[in-house]
Subunit: 352 residues, 4 copies
């Protein structure tokens, strides 16, 4: 039997990616897609690429109103799931009533990723809109928090940049192989990471044949990254994070420079072993070996994150690299992975 | 009156860029272009984009043989200039006899950038092919070595990555505003940086919709960067350098993380003043202010390098950013700029 | 139970696409992949994007030798399938012995698409290498030749351009709604259409920010297109075909101009009805209505071809448009579709 | 001495291109740039790429008001020039008063390209806003109307698509080498052709990895093309015109299919001779010979249009090809070329 899923905010890029993944999910029926601007239109007409799917030919976008959505979730909304693919702030307006009703919620916004309302205010520039719920959601990185996700009914799905940084860093921090200070992370993101936002600097001619950094030094993903790194290190961790916009549709490549905590006998092998222990059986983490380097084209459209590491014998530094699809492992794919865990489905269901 | 110029290796991307710049240079006459594979063909046929220029309609590529080239340089080769746009190793074969003949040489290869034959061997994997000339060339970064260039007749034109890293770093190191340790530089380069090399990983479909790092941790530009940083700092400097390949034709964006040397009262202002002192009147260095960020599309096809800086109040770190065209300021434009200085032409001649 | 499949020439783009599709096909086991240059390497190492699949972690490329391949096809090779993803000419060397052995063959090359060895010689510049087999293969366009494919064991899978032109044209020609004379087809193809051929004009910097026509007026796909159009029209049809190379990885957009055969009362509606009759239930043909226009991004990675039509009231002309993925519906996807028919699998198996 | 130029609507792509060309024009001083949204900002801040130019560091955008602009044109506005880089309809509001004042006007909009107010209404969906001026402007294609441009003070600069179609067709029509009926033109345009319009379908992710036709069968450039072809043929000419959007910034590639008017002995040579006679000395028309094919990358950023022709011995048809930069020869470069003629400057001034 299939569970019912609603996607609130299905017109943006991560909403569209949720639609793509859930349309082919064997255990899910998309019961509802909302969109202010596309309300009344069929999925097939708004997204021609899905037009061959019978559900897309039938299902229409509805206005984003709670009662409207609840009606589509069947007699027992507690057995359904609602994905929030909304801007921060707006997601809270949905999370609160859904929480009260006991509906399982997977929130792709930043609203419930931080355990601190103060950090939220500092980086998002507003009071937290639902402070009562702060700290209630599980941070939906399955490879790190699988057990907690299983027991939860409220998931704060991680940001795209954080995923690409946390996956390579956390096992090394936990194993105390690296120093928690002096971490520098550079990330290069495809333009879909900016969302389907109609603004001049995202026009084709403004992005094509252009490379630029932005959001330095205080990108909104910083507190989320530091929170999780601090938990892993057992002490406060700060990070220097430099995001860049590059002319591809999908993909994030991240390069992290860290310092080893000890002069290990064979540091590269120690890191490899650490990764193997942490991620050896993970279906969505690809540990590269030899001279292979992460490349966004090898993960585009998949839920896989590639990671590799190098040790520089000259400087003694360690370089960690990762590649993911910002819309899949970096957003909607990971959200579906969490949903699979939540509902006891095979974790790779609909994601291979 | 015009000087005569020969371009040895005019089929590659930096050779082609030299052709583009010299065709419109008011004080230069291209006397000779060499190419093994295009020998006998007209410039206009090999590079249709130059076909409207009368010189391109007339001038033919010749085999790269010394006597052949010398013949084209006129009665007094010492008043001519030879550009070497050749792979490392091969450039040396030309530099030695030209040096002996007293011809002015601007070498775009790496052969004479390093003052140490040992460093050359370590990074280029071979004995230096002309050890007698090591240390004879001036490192052709006009904004830093203008006076030396003026007095020289042998220029080792800097690499593309080094230019993008040295220009923002050196004034701060000289002024001791930043620490010489722990420097991390991430650079994103357009594909032309790899040269017109016919290999699978540079095919359109392998680069488009792809982002990847490469050459980590020991890219060949590292010793050149460290040599110049060390000179500026007055002590040995090591650098963590991460180059990446991104799907644009032209452009390098570099993001450098460094630590301040002191708790300055107003570090952003101190850096701005330092840059203003160092580069205030420079025609090819654009000091960005306010929220402006370097963007490769604003320098493509020009000899300009944009630089900006940010100080992170949370971490205390400094982030320096630069954007240049890897083929112009990063290679051929800078070589022409050196030529202008060498011959006493206005430094911006042919470059605006 | 699964059938065994061998892919001869699995290193090129259409071979790689076959691997992608067959790895996820529920009824197929890839038994063998051949490659001269990658022989001995694992699929996972050559194509990291498949590395998460257990078969890719195990299966190694082998040398392209017949006995080597036959051994992998099991006790009864007649129940297996061999895909030939080889250059024209080379495919024949495989087709002949496989035909004699009774193995089912799906040939993605041009060798057996033409019913005339003379036309082959004219367009491919050499005598047909296996003239005895000319005319034996069924032209593998399922929507037009489904019944014949079902009864065959030798499929000549259509070219990418021909598919994009024949699908919109043939129903109209058969229904005599359009004149068979004066047809002009313009096609715009992504660079993967040129194959993974390591040559200068396919380098990233030579294709990016470039648009150009090529192969005019005598592209090799012309005889195949004209053969099928002539069969549909019941008389000899000539076509003016203009292929272009555009900077995308995947996709062909085709625009065909034709003249109506009669002054129909309502030509747009008559064409729509004709398409509905011909393709109404087809899972891989998307008939666009209203103002929707074919767009390669809506079919990339899928086996779908979108078609639309416009009638120009000013000129009286008809414009037909189609969009497909050149590697999927234009090559490997269509080949798998034929395989599904051949073996009695659901036609959409592995293709949704 | 320099003339003064005003650019009305300098924020769009063709306005920006005018700025680029006029900043380096030896005979022109940009006296005024208008922009509603950028009013009060410096050129250098809005377009960082021009920031190295002293004029860009000084000149500020002003509100588009007539008196404001007139003040900047000096004591004798009749010796100045005003470029209108405005949407159709809006351009008329400026053209009328400027005409009355005797100021020379070069209009890049469509408002005065058509000699018929009725055709304007049919294709632009509104009554002509300045019918009194219809037919007063000279169609600014210098290679065809040089003498008229010289005598005029009001130029309607051609559209980008029309330029790419008219230049190859008109000499052949005038020479009666081709039939005026059955002309099919397919054009592929870079995204800058759509202007700096902030709408969803022009976002990077919506254009990248996408190819699509649009505006079929009634693009607004059709009447302008047909008007000029009819004048050349001496009878009414209709055209089937298919524009496409492709993911490059700049460039139009056009492929035109026509029928010869007679069975010429040597049609390719006859066409070549015709082009040579028409365009032999033209600085901005590059007649390709041999196997060379027009390529947008060879004309990007220049005022050159490349043309080539092929005759198909099988069909008897003729294929004409052209490549231009839609913003330069297709818009602002051609406008400057007309200005040069108007003021008696060398025609290539500022354009090489």
């Amino acid at each position: 039997m299939k569970i019912r899923a609603a996607i609130i905010g299905a017109s943006g890029y991560s909403g569209e990616e949720l639609v793509r993944l859930l349309l082919r999910h064997p255990r899910v029926q998309i019961a509802c897609v909302t969109s202010r601007q596309n309300s009344g239109k069929k999925l097939a007409d708004v997204f021609p690429k899905f037009a061959s799917h019978p559900v897309a030919q039938r299902l229409k976008f509805v206005e984003p109103r709670l009662e409207r959505v609840l009606k589509t979730l069947g007699a027992n909304p507690r057995s359904a799931v609602v994905f929030l693919a909304l801007p921060h702030g707006v997601a809270s307006e949905w999370a609160s009533p859904l929480w009260n009703l006991g509906v399982r919620v997977i929130d792709l916004s930043a609203d419930f990723r931080l355990n601190s309302a103060a950090a939220y205010k500092e980086f998002y520039g507003q009071d937290h809109p639902a402070p009562r719920l702060v700290g209630r959601a599980v941070y939906g990185l399955p490879e790190l928090y699988r057990a907690k996700i299983k027991r939860s009914r409220f998931i704060a799905s991680p940001g795209c940049y954080p995923t690409s940084i946390l996956v390579p860093l956390i096992p090394l921090l936990r194993a105390k192989l690296i120093q928690p200070g002096g971490i520098v992370a550079n990330s290069l993101s495809g333009v879909s990471g900016a969302g389907r936002t109609v603004q001049e600097n995202l026009l084709f001619c403004e992005c094509n044949e252009s490379v630029r950094a932005y959001g330095i030094p205080k990108h909104r993903h910083v507190p989320e990254i530091e929170q999780e790194l601090s938990l892993a290190a057992g002490r406060r961790v700060l990070i220097q994070f430099n995001p860049h916009l590059i002319p591809v549709n999908r993909g994030i490549l991240t390069t992290v420079c860290v310092q080893p905590s000890t002069k290990s006998g064979n540091l590269p092998a120690a890191i490899a072993r650490c990764y193997e222990r942490a991620y050896g059986g993970e279906p969505f983490i690809r540990l590269l070996t030899g001279t292979a380097m992460p490349d966004t084209k090898n993960v585009a459209g998949t839920n896989v994150i590639e990671i590799a590491h190098r040790v520089d014998p000259r400087t003694g530094g360690i370089i960690l690299l990762s590649a993911e699809d910002n819309l899949t492992k970096g957003a909607s794919g990971q959200a579906v992975q969490s949903m699979n865990i939540l509902f006891g489905f095979p974790e790779t269901s609909g994601l291979l």
